[in-house]
């Protein structure tokens, strides 16, 4: 959907109402093409970017299996074959949820994914992770078996030592069950929703800038003075800083708003032939100071591929989802 149709949508609020203000603000912050994009940057084409979506998938299975367990009750999940299956499904989907979340966290930590005004995205993810641990603990206490009794009697001393035992009684099954199936899942789901919306708003964090060696192997070179860093707001902020180093010096540092990926790609000069090996590097900026990122490994990939720049992850795709 084009920006023009969004503006038409927003202009539909004829009266100053709270619903109209919310709609206008929502469309400004998250226009439909950003909320539900049909394209992603080229650098997202790596397995390391998959674990956030895998976490959400596992979380969906956790919610569905937990809902079935809540409907059927403890005697069903302990005694019937179907109940044992759904109980195991709930446990294993939780295991996978945490496994995917931890790999997602590691990946985003080494990417420094809070860059580019993405602090709120990082913090919402950390909060969702921490609250998920609490939700899982209350799940241990809600099993209705000897295991949950043992865990409850062990946990009470620790909780009591913090002074929270007066209102957080791990031996109170009803209280723990309500926290586990109502309060905490609602908060975790809300935090995950906010996290995803923030990812949509700011975009997936781009990789670190490539080193000179990586640029050379990919057949790319810097074509002039380094463009100024993108502005903190507006369309210019959407252009990764890494790409700005490839903009010819003649190009204005102010990136016009409303450019498509193809139009942005047109601003980036990618040599059609192999650059001369003795390309002088005097005008090049110093290499990035953050080597060894996960993305640095993936950026080696274009070196083994065809003509210079044709398959580079630093070239925005002509038509790639």
């Amino acid at each position: 959907m084009s920006a023009q149709s969004v503006d038409t949508f927003a202009a539909g609020a004829e009266k100053d109402t709270w619903t109209g203000r919310i709609r206008k603000r929502g469309l400004e912050e998250l226009p439909p093409d950003r909320l539900l994009p049909d394209r992603q940057p080229a650098y997202v084409a790596s397995w390391i970017y998959v674990f956030g979506a895998l976490s959400i998938g596992a979380f969906a299975v956790v919610l569905l299996s937990g809902g079935v367990l809540a409907v059927e009750g403890p005697s069903w999940w302990h005694k019937s074959n179907a109940g044992l299956f759904v109980n195991s499904l709930h446990m294993w989907s939780t295991e996978f949820f945490f496994m995917f979340m931890v790999v997602h966290l590691w990946a985003k930590f080494f990417m420094a994914a809070w860059r580019g005004k993405r602090k709120a995205t990082w913090i919402s993810g950390v909060l969702a992770f921490a609250l998920s641990i609490g939700t899982a603990f209350t799940g241990y206490l809600s099993q209705q078996n000897f295991d949950s009794e043992w865990i409850g009697t062990q946990a009470k001393d620790g909780i009591n030592s913090t002074g929270a035992g007066a209102f957080w009684n791990v031996l109170n099954f009803g209280q723990m069950l309500m926290w586990h199936i109502v309060l905490l899942p609602l908060v975790v789901a809300a935090l995950i929703g906010v996290h995803v919306l923030l990812v949509r708003r700011r975009g997936v964090v781009p990789p670190f800038a490539p080193t000179d060696g990586q640029l050379a192997r990919a057949g790319l070179s810097l074509t002039g003075a380094v463009a100024a860093p993108p502005a903190e707001s507006g369309a210019a902020a959407q252009l990764p800083a890494e790409l700005s180093t490839q903009i010819p010096a003649s190009t204005s540092t102010q990136i016009p708003s409303g450019l498509s990926d193809q139009e942005l790609a047109a601003l980036i000069e990618v040599p059609s032939q192999e650059p001369p090996a003795q390309e002088p590097a005097a005008h090049e900026p110093p290499p990035p100071t953050v080597p060894g990122s996960p993305d640095a490994a993936t950026s080696h990939e274009p070196a083994a591929q065809g003509p210079a720049g044709q398959d580079s992850m630093w070239q925005l795709p002509k038509d790639e989802s």
Binding site: E95, M99, A107, P317
Partner: protein, 64 residues
């Protein structure tokens, strides 16, 4: 007999892994960790490394 075969396989796996036995713990100085947790951490590290190393499948350019 199909389901018997399936349960037979599960029982064999359970016998190999000792799912019903006492938990195994590994101690190294002040560090103590269950074998199950150590395996999970190792699997996550392998997943992390594989996600970086393995090439991502590429799609053909879509025709408009």
């Amino acid at each position: 007999m199909g389901h018997m075969g399936m349960f037979g396989g599960i029982n064999t796996l359970a016998a190999l892994v000792h799912l019903g036995g006492t938990g195994r713990y590994i101690s190294w100085g002040v560090i103590q960790i269950s074998l199950a947790n150590l395996i999970i951490i190792a699997v996550m590290i392998v997943l992390f490394a594989a996600a970086i190393i393995l090439p991502f499948p590429k799609h053909e350019a879509r025709k408009k």
